[in-house]
């Protein structure tokens, strides 16, 4: 079975632009979470979606938004990019029950110039 997949793998944008990152969860998983990992830090929680509803949100500005589709794939959108948004964006999927293990995708490395 395929693991979590993310696209694109790398992306370069300039300040002020908008970006959309995509994630497909493991087959059968209904929950998707997004994390931002800045160099030298652990991943930071951005959003969690379950059955197309937002279940939780971390401490990120409104420039960050996400959604989940009927097939449980998800998009993370970031508007008005700042240099500080440069990071590895990780998607994790889980079956959806509370307490389930989250499995991570390979991430999208975003560079904002």
């Amino acid at each position: 079975d395929a693991g979590v997949t993310q696209s694109p793998t790398h992306l370069i944008k300039t300040r002020g632009q908008h970006v959309t990152l995509r994630c497909s969860p493991i087959s059968g998983h209904k929950s998707v979470s997004w994390y931002q990992q800045v160099l030298g830090q652990g991943p930071q929680f951005i959003f969690q979606y379950y059955e197309k509803e937002e279940r939780g949100r971390g401490n990120f500005p409104d420039r960050f938004s996400a959604r989940q589709f009927p097939n449980y794939s998800s998009e993370l959108n970031v508007n008005a990019l700042l240099l500080g948004d440069s990071a590895l964006y990780l998607c994790a999927s889980s079956w959806g029950g509370l307490g389930e293990t989250q499995y991570f995708g390979p991430g999208t490395r975003l560079l904002v110039l």
Binding site: G42, P43, F45, R55, G56, L90, L98, G99, F104
Partner: protein, 114 residues
């Protein structure tokens, strides 16, 4: 504010050595603690610990949780160069809204020299 502290932040040892990585946490409504290994990009799952004092083991790796003292350790025996990675711990909390987001520490960067 939730806090997760991992130590040491970096560690260099020789192949065959045994290492102990530490994770202490101060979080509200603790549910469980997860350990991940991150080599290049995707963190890969190692252990989920829910109960105090019960060691989980997988090959040369083992981990234990102390819910009274609020810490966990990850042991790796007979280390190999393939164990070189960043090891992340992440407590998971109960959330009224049902959110399951993980709070990660900064990680321990482990380097195994041949």
């Amino acid at each position: 504010e939730d806090k997760v502290v991992q130590s040491p932040l970096s560690l260099v040892v020789h192949e065959g050595d045994t290492v102990t990585l530490n994770c202490s946490y101060e979080v509200t409504n603790f549910r469980s603690l997860l350990w991940y290994k991150q080599e290049k990009k995707a963190p890969t799952f190692l252990f989920m610990l829910t109960s105090s004092g019960i060691e989980k083991k997988s090959g040369r790796l083992s981990s234990i949780l102390d819910k009274k003292e609020l810490f966990s350790i990850l042991n790796i025996t007979a280390t190999q160069t393939g164990d070189s990675a960043v090891y992340l711990c992440a407590p998971k909390m109960y959330s009224g809204g049902g959110a399951d987001g993980l709070t990660f520490g900064k990680g321990t960067h482990l380097i195994i020299q041949p």
